[in-house]
């Protein structure tokens, strides 16, 4: 039997706590029928929940453990990237201008993807454990792409004036924090070798816990009941014209 040291307790708590929160999130999403609005986030939640629960009861180290871990991580990264476009679809209204914004995000994503591949391919030192190093660097590249895209999404969200009532805010903020900390961790461990494996694992786990708690806060709260009788009139078109006219003055000599 393993000794119940403080480090072991912390590790287990950081492992199990997000699973409990995510199980509750999955149940609440099913109950509120919000799966239809966020099917990819729901799939991500279920994947992490089932994958991590299976790993919790598997023998370590073993081939099956490695296989399950790698498959779960690979799928989680892909779903984590897909969630970004799900959030954009949820927060952006349909209009020609917004379609232009969406296309710009795709282009930015493409550039960030090329940079991520470049960072993976042109890495000078593979170190002694080549396979492990490659996995860490591949994950760093994936997290780099994810963090870049979340930067764009978070910046757009701040301009859209979204409040705590929106699930998208919680989902994006949770992923933003997790991808930021994970990316820094992968850089410090996988590339610079400045932190130990234990510190890296703890950092990653703690960041995921913070993300899960943010998702929990946003998705588990009771839905507020708001009533809006009529559509607000705020002469925004007129203001938009006035501001655009002023900005346009700058491109002409006066």
């Amino acid at each position: 039997m393993r000794p119940m040291s403080f480090a072991y307790l912390v590790t287990m708590t950081l492992w199990v706590l997000p699973l409990v929160v995510q199980a509750a999130i999955a149940l609440v999403m099913l109950k509120r029928k919000s799966v239809k609005s966020f099917p990819i986030f729901f799939s991500y939640t279920v994947l992490v929940l089932t994958g991590e629960t299976a790993l919790l009861f598997m023998k370590y180290p073993s081939n099956i453990y490695t296989l399950v871990y790698c498959c779960k991580e690979g799928l989680a990264v892909l779903l984590g990237l897909a969630v970004i476009f799900e959030i954009l679809g949820d927060i952006l209204p349909s209009s020609p201008f917004i379609r232009f914004v969406l296309k710009s995000v795709w282009i930015f994503g493409g550039v960030a993807g090329v940079a991520a591949v470049f960072m993976l391919v042109y890495h000078p030192d593979a170190g002694a454990h080549r396979v492990l190093e490659f996995i860490l660097l591949a994950e760093r590249s994936a997290r780099f792409l994810q963090a870049c895209l979340f930067i764009v999404v978070l910046a757009l969200m701040s301009r859209l004036g979204l409040t705590w009532r929106h699930y998208s805010v919680g989902i994006a903020a949770g992923f933003g924090i997790y991808s930021g900390v994970a990316l820094a961790g992968f850089e410090l461990r996988g590339h610079l070798h400045l932190v130990s494996d234990a510190t890296f694992a703890l950092l990653n786990s703690a960041a995921y816990n913070v993300a899960a708690l943010i998702w929990g806060f946003y998705l588990l709260r009771p839905l507020p009941k708001m009533t809006v009788e009529h559509f607000p009139s705020a002469n925004l078109t007129e203001w938009n014209e006035a501001v655009t006219d002023y900005v346009n003055q700058w491109s002409r000599r006066y």
Binding site: I151, G161, L162, A172, E229
Partner: protein, 168 residues
């Protein structure tokens, strides 16, 4: 070294933006009554007068340079304050629009989408306008000339609309 700096900068920026989003995601407006109480009454005509080129030229002609700079800065300061209030109004209007959309009326939903898109575009333009005003505040007498980027941008938008229409 470059990739390390880039990676850490991206990580820090993601964290900072996530934190900013969470700290700013306050309750917002709840209903029409709340909107009526919190909206700012600002006149777009005053804004236009404050930044009118002819007014500026007129002031430049009749005031000594130092006094002109001082007066111009005060006008810009006022315009910046107005833009902050417009930004607030646009944010609240978007939130109220989203709440109104919950009613599930398809005709209303399309109008609301249009309003949110306009408000979003306005808030993006506000960033640019603020930047211009800050530069102008630093150099009040500077007659600035920049390449006409917005013309190319408008051409790009027009061609995208045309190609979307052709595909549809």
């Amino acid at each position: 070294m470059v990739t390390t700096l880039l990676t850490l900068a991206v990580a820090l920026l993601a964290l900072a933006l996530a934190y900013a989003l969470l700290s700013r995601a306050h309750t917002g407006v709840r209903d029409n009554h709340d909107w009526e109480q919190r909206k700012h009454a600002i006149d777009v005509k005053i804004f236009r007068v404050l930044l009118d080129r002819n007014e500026e030229a007129h002031l430049r002609r009749f005031l000594p340079p130092l006094q002109f700079a001082d007066f111009q800065r005060r006008r810009i300061h006022l315009a910046l304050r107005m833009l902050r209030l417009v930004d607030d109004n646009a944010g609240m209007a978007m939130e109220l629009g989203r709440l109104a959309k919950l009613k599930g009326d398809p005709a209303l939903a399309s109008n609301i989408d249009e309003m949110i898109a306009t408000a979003f575009q306005l808030r993006l333009n506000l960033l640019l306008a603020r930047l211009c005003l800050y530069v102008k505040w630093v150099f009040p007498s500077w007659a600035v000339s920049l390449p006409a980027f917005e013309v190319r941008y408008q051409h790009l938008l027009d061609s995208m609309h045309a190609s979307s229409g052709a595909i549809a």
